[in-house]
């Protein structure tokens, strides 16, 4: 067997673990507030009104925060989905899965940046 150091895996793994930290720290409270608390009427629905959100999005800090919140977890998920699919039966696709999964994350990154910095 001829082994050689892999140069790009550290990059993807680094993104995966950054995303893992961000998802661990931030995603639960977001799901709770926007997905459960507001729709169930536990807190004022005006908190997610069009006026309030668009006003918040004028703040560049909010945009940067959303970039971090949305982009890194995409790489986290892409990495895990890549390996899990191979582990539960798609082992023969092990070469294509990284392209599909990380490609999806890259596409998602472009969409987030486009919406936040071009459309708004």
């Amino acid at each position: 067997m001829n082994y050689k150091e892999h140069k790009s895996e550290p990059f993807w793994w680094g993104m995966f673990s950054q995303g893992g930290v961000i998802a661990a720290l931030l995603i639960p409270i977001h799901i709770f507030l926007c997905g459960l608390a507001v729709p169930l009427g536990l807190i004022d629905p005006e908190l997610l009104s069009y006026e309030r959100i668009t006003a918040l999005l004028q703040n560049p800090l909010v945009k940067v925060y959303l970039c971090v919140l949305l982009i890194f977890p995409l790489y986290h998920a892409a990495h895990r989905i890549r390996f899990t699919l191979a582990e539960i039966g798609l082992h023969s696709l092990a070469k294509v899965l990284p392209v599909l999964c990380y490609g999806g994350a890259l596409l998602g990154t472009a969409v987030v940046l486009y919406i936040l910095w071009v459309l708004f």
């Binding site: 931030l26 997905g35 729709p39 977890p73 539960i88 919406i115």
Partner: protein, 144 residues
């Protein structure tokens, strides 16, 4: 024993495709929990994609946004968010616990001078960070 694989007739029992349910005749709960842990990422991804879609709708104007907010009140969405929240919490729990485990092995990750920082501090730090982040975001969301 080292042997000549050309001349020795060996037999390898193949691992099953559903090894996380049954691996060569046995169910291993930890394999199953591993798969659940990896599955959390699917819910993280779905939530993020939904979030991005919401942002996109905002650029379409007030009407589109209001209609979507209304549909989020429907049963299926509530159920989805409930499940997603459970998975997201399981991710937080396992991920933050992992740093503590890494700190506890060998030289760990964080050293102060020549000593490895006791893992309990890493545990307090990572779960503490979760609590702080959660409170700060909730506070900002409610007051900004």
């Amino acid at each position: 024993m080292m042997l000549d694989s050309e001349t020795t007739k060996t037999y390898t029992r193949p691992i099953s495709k559903a090894w996380w349910l049954r691996d060569r005749g046995y169910f291993n709960r930890r394999y199953f929990m591993f798969l659940l842990r990896e599955l959390t990422s699917v819910f993280v991804a779905l939530y993020v994609v939904l979030f991005i879609y919401e942002l996109f709708l905002l650029t379409k104007g007030q009407e589109a946004h209001a209609a979507f907010q209304e549909s989020l009140r429907s049963g299926p969405f509530i159920v989805f968010f409930l499940i997603a929240l459970l998975f997201a919490l399981y991710h937080s729990w396992t991920w933050l616990g992992l740093t503590t485990k890494m700190q506890a092995a060998g030289r760990g990750l964080v050293k102060i001078g020549t000593k490895t920082l006791p893992p309990i501090f890493v545990a307090l730090g990572s779960y503490g960070a979760w609590l702080v982040a959660t409170c700060v975001i909730a506070y900002l969301f409610l007051t900004l």
